[in-house]
Symmetry: C2
Subunit: 304 residues, 2 copies
Amino acid sequence: MQTFADRLIDSVRKKGNPCIVGLDPRIDLMPDFIRSGRETPSRENFRAIVSDFHELVLDTVADLVPAVKPQLAFYEQYGLGGMEAFENTVKAARSRGLLVIADGKRNDISSTAEAYATAFLSATDFEADSLTVTPYLGRDSLAPFAEACAKHAKGLFVVLKSSNPGSRDFQDQPLAGTGRPLYEAIAAIISDLGKNMLGESGYSSIGAVVGATFPEDGRRLRALMPQAIILVPGYGAQGGSAQSAAACFHENGLGAVVSSSRGITYGFSDRGISRKAFVTSVRDNTLRMIDEIVKATSAPTPVS
Amino acid sequence: MQTFADRLIDSVRKKGNPCIVGLDPRIDLMPDFIRSGRETPSRENFRAIVSDFHELVLDTVADLVPAVKPQLAFYEQYGLGGMEAFENTVKAARSRGLLVIADGKRNDISSTAEAYATAFLSATDFEADSLTVTPYLGRDSLAPFAEACAKHAKGLFVVLKSSNPGSRDFQDQPLAGTGRPLYEAIAAIISDLGKNMLGESGYSSIGAVVGATFPEDGRRLRALMPQAIILVPGYGAQGGSAQSAAACFHENGLGAVVSSSRGITYGFSDRGISRKAFVTSVRDNTLRMIDEIVKATSAPTPVS
């Protein structure tokens, strides 16, 4: 089986862009037509609303983008109904040929990390194609995920530099001795974990998360981890521009994927919007993002 | 309503010990009697086995310890059946008067952190009394959790120094300027976030996770965060002794809780063990831990 990195790069080439649609279920922001008749907060209504909303989004963007990024926190807040919808969203996305990045920021030590890897990177209800993880617990906490990626042809995105202002608090701290920021020490481990997992594309399946809001850091990390695919959140609603996201790309337009959530799925102004107008809004928002990102990154011409 | 810290300290006083039973569902380690007749891996069997196992453990330890710590990773690995069992375990524990520390090592930025706080610290299917979180994303990622704790009388445990060898990789890194380890910079933020959330016990509901395997770090962090309750994992199976766990306590025997998982629930040698012998094993293991920890920490005499 192809590595995750190769599948992602292939899909970026085929779709002609590196854009990811983020799926953040927030029922309070969804259009009335999707909630109508099931306003009571219940497991069944949570499951139905969140599933239906995302199936509609997936149908609208499946031919446009290479992957989607469901955010686990927003599913978990709806309890069991939310997790049933998560299963549904992930399966619906994969059945439409979209790669799934489960955004869970998971991690723990040894056998517990293995359990998270089993949950999201093997044949379970929640099986995705890749998972975001946090690095604070150290290299031995990342190793079980890397092993699962090698075994099941899955991918990992380790948070290096997040898109929020608070990313400066610890991630940017210069270390004694080198004077270099903490995130560079973590980048070295990501490179090392990925070096035996290179696919035909030249990229490894151990990637990194680097926010679009800090282009200088993006440029530095791009250079430090030439074989890592960078997942770039923070574009759009969080203030990252296409130009700043472009800092995480190689000159050939590959090496990174850019995610937008609210700007795509909640970019309409009136919750009374019709189903048809909602579909148009999601599609237009996606096409606008694709246009901006492709222009900024000189992505390759789509294969017909 | 009492703060989380006050409820935990009260319960430690009433039970006469600061021991926490960790709940790590691992069906492959469970006794045959709990799996018999439902060996097929299915949502229903996962739900039933994991729920029944933990209800039996809870019935066995509810009169002995102040709290339990279900590990979300091990529940998530069983998919929807696992999450149904998580809901069951949490409700079963709380209905037996046990406080629940949801061990999820969650975190993310801004509104996503709020969604995790909603999921585990408000009235949802997964409502616990407290949650473990990771600090890498910075102070503004911790703030929404602290707000939820203040609003709903819940608690937080921020991972500072984990019990694994890899905790040295980043957590111990001395920072330029101060030369002090990264975890001390995070400890300062934990103290600051908790300073307006002190209960009558004098402890705040913003606590920290410090592994039993590094007593020198435990002593330093105990001194740096006098009002934080420290959750101490790594006792027993991971090699932390009662003496090293004691480094995280105040001299009056308060200020920390110690967790053991495998050593309590999987401390038997033969999977053919009877139900009665399993209950005896769990109870004996818990009593032995209590005895060791109480001796090492000079915990207060139980209130009759």
